[in-house]
Point group: C2
Chain length 212, copies 2
Amino acid sequence: MIPITILVADDHPLIVKALADFLSSHGYNIVATETNGIRAFHKIINLKPRIALLDIEMPDLGGLEIAEKLFGKSDETFIIFNTVHREQSIIQRANELGVKGYLLKEYALDQILECIQSICNGKPYFGNDLTVLTELGQEENILTKLSPSEIKILRFISQEKSTKDIAERLFIAEKTVEKHRSNIIRKLGLSQTKNSLLIWSLQHKEELLGIH
Amino acid sequence: MIPITILVADDHPLIVKALADFLSSHGYNIVATETNGIRAFHKIINLKPRIALLDIEMPDLGGLEIAEKLFGKSDETFIIFNTVHREQSIIQRANELGVKGYLLKEYALDQILECIQSICNGKPYFGNDLTVLTELGQEENILTKLSPSEIKILRFISQEKSTKDIAERLFIAEKTVEKHRSNIIRKLGLSQTKNSLLIWSLQHKEELLGIH
DNA sequence: ATTAAAATAAGGGTTAACCATTATTTTTTG
DNA sequence: CAAAAAATAATGGTTAACCCTTATTTTAAT
């Protein structure tokens, strides 16, 4: 039997090495390791590994963005996320992008093996304590309540832009941006204190990058 | 020769395992591994390992806080930090707390061995690209420019407290807190935009926890 | 084609975080 | 103890982020 080919990417070399060693010792064929998102993306395209085990936070290009770029194109590679993020919106977004497995870094190593096995048998694997929303549940993601413009503006806010900055960049009136801001605050159920939206957006940067 | 005893603590089990395996395979005696700060602290007290290799970000008790609690007490255990933080203030704080080694997670594994060797020979080891400030350089830490009250207030700000909240908790006038805020902004050289201080404090939470 | 949803915008108002200046009291330190 | 540093506080002002309401235009969906 030909061993299953795997690409491993994570921004910490130590984790990359640990994962690669662990999987190697269990009979998998590690065809590449990377600590940079863009390089990982190119290697997935060129090497077409059976599985890409990706972190979500990586320099230049995050795991969600890689999954997005690959969506539809490469059905040869199954993507697994290995991340610290347990937010429903990220998990749901991963699901939408056809990601086959989702693991938290806090999990024991065994779950990585289970996950790979499961996927190779055609069954997606999302960690058991995650609110999995495959098909049925639909366990709504709070970000889906927002309109496209609202998400666009929220992303600017998470990049520390002021209402004025955003209005200028989008060629709309400041008043419009303000209206969007208060709509977002209402939809997200945030408090009416001054910087609640800024703080929320900073805490949900990763999620915002994944959605467009 | 009796092997050197080591305790390894990091909030990610994968990293703990990787470090423990790696060090074991190089002849060290891993007496304990932990993913929780408080438990790591107690194990250091009880097991008195020669070396404690600690992450800074851990649940319940961070590496800096462990070093603080051990300061003066346990001269039997040498502390090494293995972290993503490269901020001068954290490095300096580690130095002040008698931490003997400081490694970044992005470093190659070899440096961990070098670090342990160096420390066991009585020579502290701070990563070569870190601005080390052992004795001479003094390469000032920006946080040392702040007075104790200013740091206290900055910590509240990083916990998303408003000027009013802070004034109430410290039993001082809001105007006093405001004055401190603008002094902090001036000392840190931040911009005069509305939320510069909040953003800065959120981005430097870890450093603020280490200093009192 | 009609309705619903989203995006656009303005008027008018509150609050909190910033600015500058001045000044008194308390604490630290040489 | 005297000088320096820090903490305290007030007066007065600007700005940006929030609130509310109303309204027109654009886009999407049935």
